[in-house]
Assembly symmetry: C2
Homo-oligomer: 474 residues x 2
């Protein structure tokens, strides 16, 4: 019951919000009274009040004493979303490893504002609760977690992950899941098991560079397909390529894509799975951001529509709980034996105690509470980023409108060199992720990915302002 | 100073022990008095007394009141060591995965005496101290270890591993080391980085099946070379193969080999490294058992003699502290960049908090204390196994004489089928590791590996007796 109410107030808040963003409600406009909306929509006054408070917390509206609620948010303009990518068909492939290394290295320096990275700031993590869990796990786990896990991983954890799958329409059981030391290891096991050197895989464009690096390490060929920044990979391109080329696997991030932020609509997901089934090709799905939705409910993933076991769905708690715990998993469908074997051969098992801590955290409902908080924080951050970018970035900027996750994708005017912007920004202790990192082709040189999974404060705002200034001056 | 004295008393105890084992001192013989040995050898009475107490604790001698120390150990006979292996040159290769899976699965059943496995029993681990370390790490580590480690791993840990390298004549610095989630991951990174599908690697025969599995997963060809059960891989065979074939890498376990128990003599190690340098081929060394020596000092490893950076030395604390912590490392010599990249691409980083716990454990001298204990336990277990095998196994048994580590290798008479013995033993809840697991060829069918890294008690003794009975009856 409580959750349904939650959804309702968020739903209403989002409706008002898009009216404000679209200019239907303009700055200074008065909102209908709580009582009026309640009557018109047949929804309790409590719920409408909650919705208005939500809008107020986002600085979209303000309450004026004895008068009501007024729109106080002014979006200078609506920045356009970048056009769908059109990766060149050239055979010239080049992973920009030096650039990736350089951006990674900025992580180790102190006092850098890490707009470049893809993990949550410590302030967003429930560290005290995890520590309690650690002490508990130490006491309850046989031999305090010093022994090896069985190959599939901690059973309690697998059970909780199965339970969690209900929210995206999955119907998993513990035995459908294999734990892994993080999501990238899950992807590594999947690709190692399913694709051999010289084989070809399909990815989105832009693609998460970790997938490109893995492919390089395993000597796989990569085809980047045109991708829409709102709806993900272009279905026609996918269809076309699947019917023309021998493909070993597709690797997609269907929800709140890294880096594009795109959210594949449910019917696209269905169609992708249908295509995979038709061609009998495995789909490796990275759903690590799926829980971090801004909307009223968790989006499905491709695994939701997987009836033949061709989808291997990978995830972890590295974006929500504790990157350093190295707790991830894969539901490998019909490929379970291969995945278990690959896990066994390459790493035996993953760390016992951190799996147990996460299992307990998931078991006791703390995860849902925590997710609600981190979602709200990410959404607020996103709004703050958009506001700051609107105010301080030049007019030619194109900007994605993610509905969840960690990332904004910015496209600057043609010819703009983001790599030299990176160097300039680093002189101000600001690290960004240049778009070129996310492709094997020479594209996205005028793009960048910004991480808003940070702790929002004056300093962060200042960094964004400086970045905007540096862009304007170039 | 204390350590030097330690070595001395153990040295003396081992001298007496080999005299007893060789029959120079027979059952009932009186040992020279403590005072007499002290005078003759110019060693303090304290040290000699310690040596005698050590022999007594091994049930090799007994003290008779007001009379002195007498030999009370009777080795029925000296079982011969198996002859060096001669793996067939046939192209027929077959990894016995089903067998390996079956043996692994026995780990998950309850109340099985796991003579088949290769890790220390919980009773041998310093669990209470590790738990204290965990609480400490939780309190001192930034963000309680929820954040990512930098790619090379915990710096304190790398520093401690470098310090530890002093004992084998290594001269490592923290920057010479990359941490990994366990030793098998270290081996996986090395092979992934250095050998591609179709490439050929050299291993010992018998070989640790984990290496054979990894090679299969990476589609490598494997040459098993003749191996001596006392001195390890046969140098002539190695020399010969290196000059005739294109080899991508050698993978050797130079100290207390799994499964053969062999200890490569220092001059062999030198020669192996020289050969590798001559042919410019990397040597991946698994030194995971190196600290578990029965003698007076830690043996060197191949890395000790590595002047050109061709040796990648892998290890972990999985055999000494906590398998479930997944804390291992590699000193990759000149291949550091490739190894770091492979680690980054396949797993990003390893678990932060368990690395910190191990770093603290190593830092505060507890590791040395613990190693002293576990070495003594393993040695006692080994003696007890040999005694029980002597008394309850048939005459045709050949048995290795490991000088450290976890494993005894038994060779039964030609034609003996150890796989059917495995089935019989499992009916008595005893799991053994059939020799066939340790080769791609059809060999070692009459052999088995026994793990003595267990908690010695009446039940374990009984299991060994039953195993002997089952062998005798076949």
């Amino acid at each position: 019951m409580e959750i349904i109410k939650d959804y309702l107030y968020l739903n209403i808040a989002r409706q008002f919000e898009s009216q404000i963003r679209d200019g239907v409600l303009k700055m200074g406009d008065k909102l209908p009274s709580v009582r009026q909306v309640s009557r018109e929509r047949g929804i309790s006054i409590n719920t409408i009040t909650q919705a208005y408070l939500e809008l107020e917390s986002l600085s979209l509206i303000e309450s004026r004493p004895k008068s009501g609620f007024y729109v106080c948010y002014s979006q200078k303009r609506n920045l356009p979303v970048p056009s769908p990518s059109k990766p060149p068909l050239s055979a010239l492939h080049q992973l920009e490893e030096d650039l990736i290394d350089k951006v990674y290295d900025s992580m180790r320096e102190k006092n850098i504002t890490l707009l470049s990275l893809g993990f949550p700031a410590a302030e967003l993590l429930p560290i005290a609760k995890l520590n309690k869990g650690l002490v508990h796990a130490m006491r309850t786990l046989p031999d305090s977690g010093t022994g090896y896990e069985p190959v599939p991983g901690n059973e309690k954890l697998r059970n909780e992950i199965a339970r969690l799958s209900f929210s995206w329409g999955g119907n998993l059981k513990a035995e459908d899941i294999v734990t892994t030391p993080g999501c990238i290891s899950a992807l590594s096991y999947c690709l190692t098991a399913l694709a051999g050197p010289g084989d070809t895989i399909i990815v989105e464009s832009p693609a998460y560079f970790g997938i490109l690096q893995l492919a390089k390490s395993l000597r796989l060929k990569v085809i980047e397909l045109p991708t829409n920044f709102i709806t993900g990979i272009e279905l026609d391109a996918l269809k076309n390529t699947l019917s023309k080329r021998r493909i070993a696997a597709c690797v997609l991030i269907s929800n709140f894509n890294n880096p594009s932020g795109s959210l594949m609509p449910a019917d696209h997901k269905k169609e992708v799975v249908r295509l995979m089934e038709y061609h009998n090709i495995p789909l490796i799905e990275d759903d690590i951001y799926g829980e971090l939705y801004f909307g009223s409910h968790r989006p499905t993933n491709c695994k939701t529509y997987d009836e033949s076991g061709l989808v291997l769905c990978c995830s972890s708690v590295s974006k929500t709980l504790a990157p350093g715990y190295r707790v991830g998993w894969v539901s490998p469908g019909r490929f379970k034996d291969q995945i278990m074997r690959t896990k066994l051969h390459h790493s035996l098992s993953s760390a016992s105690i951190t799996q147990e801590v996460v299992a307990d955290f998931l078991k006791n409902g703390r995860y849902e509470n925590h997710l609600r908080k981190i979602r709200a924080t990410l959404y607020n951050n996103y709004r703050n980023y958009v506001k700051t970018i609107n105010e301080h970035f030049p007019d030619h900027v194109k900007l994605t409108q993610p509905q969840g996750g960690f990332f904004l994708w910015l496209e600057l005017e043609k010819g703009f060199d983001v790599i030299s912007l990176y160097e300039k920004a680093m002189r101000f202790n600001i690290s960004i992720a240049p778009g070129r990192m996310f492709s094997l082709h020479k594209q996205f040189q005028n793009c960048m990915r910004l991480n808003y999974g940070m702790y929002w404060n004056k300093e962060l705002e200042k960094s964004l302002e400086i970045l905007g200034m540096l862009i304007s001056k170039t």
